[in-house]
């Protein structure tokens, strides 16, 4: 490594804020993107034979894998016609030095909850389509996502992976025998999930940095994430409808840097929503 590159690397480690600031002052980000440019997304579906549906998504250097496993369970008493979806994301110690081995970190728990929210609110998979026999048997889809390389914005990547994996999932044809009260599945006939395709959603995340040049960054990387003063996550469906908007203030909130005035805030939020809708069109094309 040349000494200049090493010096830049040391500068980046010691003064991440100043490092990012100097890039933004020039109108670029450390990875060469413009402030509102997104990283390329690649989707590969169905590569895991042990899962009923799977997808691998690369978003820049972030890599996530989602696998769907279907099992059969008895429906809850108060909702005899509904199946289950159980989405969880794992951020293992392998994917970044930030994470420790052991039970799910706070970040992973929050992420799982947000993904669950997006899935439930979008109603992409109506739970009554998972019913096999009312009150007796229903499918339970375990939607597990694992991050292989964490380079920021796992939410967007995971949501793309989940949507692609669901689109790839097939369930064996199941019949419930009342006499023996058992469910038998066909070996040959597999049917795809009855997805509510127009309700398919993608997530689009932004971050704001303060400093000398306050900038809105689309699709933040793992280097940028800890430096953000606030984040905005928008979930958009196929028709461009906004399903949810989340805005969080985070990071070092020293002396009002993160707090923006209300009018400024709504202004940038509107800007975010416009950009999100524009980008959502591109992401939704990935599923076709």
């Amino acid at each position: 490594m040349s000494s200049d590159a090493l010096r830049a690397q040391i500068f980046q480690r010691l003064h991440p804020h100043a490092y990012l600031d100097r890039f933004l002052a020039e109108g670029v980000r450390p990875d060469g993107r413009e402030s509102c440019a997104w990283r390329d997304v690649f989707v590969n579906v169905g590569s895991i034979s042990t899962a009923d549906g799977s997808a691998l998504v690369r978003m820049g250097k972030t890599i996530v894998v989602c696998g769907v496993k279907a099992e059969i369970a008895e429906p809850e008493l108060d909702s005899p016609d509904l199946g289950f979806i159980v989405p969880n994301i794992d951020l293992p110690a392998m994917c970044s030095p930030k994470f420790k081995p052991g039970p799910p970190s706070e970040e992973a728990q929050v992420l799982s909850e947000r993904l669950n929210d997006a899935l439930v609110r979008s109603n992409i998979l109506p739970l009554d389509t998972l019913c096999i026999a009312s009150g007796r048997a229903a499918w339970c889809l375990y939607i597990d996502t694992t991050c292989l390389n964490y380079d920021g914005n796992a939410f967007d990547a995971a949501l793309v992976a989940i949507m692609a994996a669901l689109g790839n999932t097939t369930l064996p044809q199941a019949t419930f025998d009342l006499d023996t009260s058992t469910t038998t599945c066909s070996r040959d006939v597999h049917v795809p999930l009855s997805l509510n395709k127009i309700r398919r959603v993608v997530g689009l995340s932004f971050g704001c940095v303060g400093g000398s040049t306050p900038t809105l960054l689309a699709d933040p990387t793992s280097f940028e994430e800890p430096l953000l003063t606030s984040t905005v996550s928008i979930v958009v469906d196929v028709e461009g409808g906004v399903v949810s908007v989340e805005r969080g203030t985070m990071g070092e909130n020293d002396g009002g840097q993160g707090e923006t005035s209300a009018s400024q805030d709504t202004g940038s939020l509107g800007e975010c929503i416009l950009m999100a809708k524009e980008r959502a069109v591109v992401l939704h094309k990935l599923f076709e």
Binding site: T50, I72, V86
Partner: protein
Amino acid sequence: MAQNPFDRRRINGPEESFLPVFEPGQERPTTWNARCGRQSTDIRQIFLQPGLISQANGSAYIETEKTKLACAVYGPRQSKSTTYSEKGKLNIEVKFAPFSCTRRRYPLHDAEDRSLAVAIHQSIASSVRLELFPKSTIDVFITIIENDGIEGCVASGAIAASTALADAGIEMFGLVTSCSAAVRGDDIRLDPTEEETNTSDGVVVVACMPALSSITNVWQSGRITAEVTLRCMEMCQDRCIDIHSVIAHSLSSMNKAP
């Protein structure tokens, strides 16, 4: 299979759920069938890519048909324990993705990942020059994305770990390669699939450093005679030499690329 219902850190499903039961009749035969397209001494094609995980100091992704796993090396970094140690610590953790097996793997449900970690640790520990890293830990994390037989996972895990260590620039005596064999009667098959190991009499996994022609780990289970075991070991060692060139090639081609 019941999941711990009190795990509030995950999104929990119903208390009980079961694997689908299929109609009887058209089951796939689980016998020691002739291999299609592969001689008994052939191993599955290896796809090995170092440096996939940019956040790690070193990493490798390996795929041999249906066995897929990723490995990342972090370190050498400061040991967490306060006691002084002259030698570095090699810490290996293996994790199955929940969707990696035919049966869903509930998190923290069994100890299979730990026994795998021990086997891989055995395979590579003697190759790493731990005496150069006092007070430090080298963390090797392995995630199994798709599992086609535990023996294959141990072998590929050791290969990936050794490649990732090399990618991280950690000093070693030599690259470790590993190969497995399944035995049924007099028939020996290298690099067996899960179906083959399930129908075999026994399996042998050998890890070695071909550059130093020394063996680092042998794991034999099942009912095999000593002569057959030795023959398996020889056959595995031959294949390990081929695998060694695969690793060397993947490492050098990565360094050539800008």
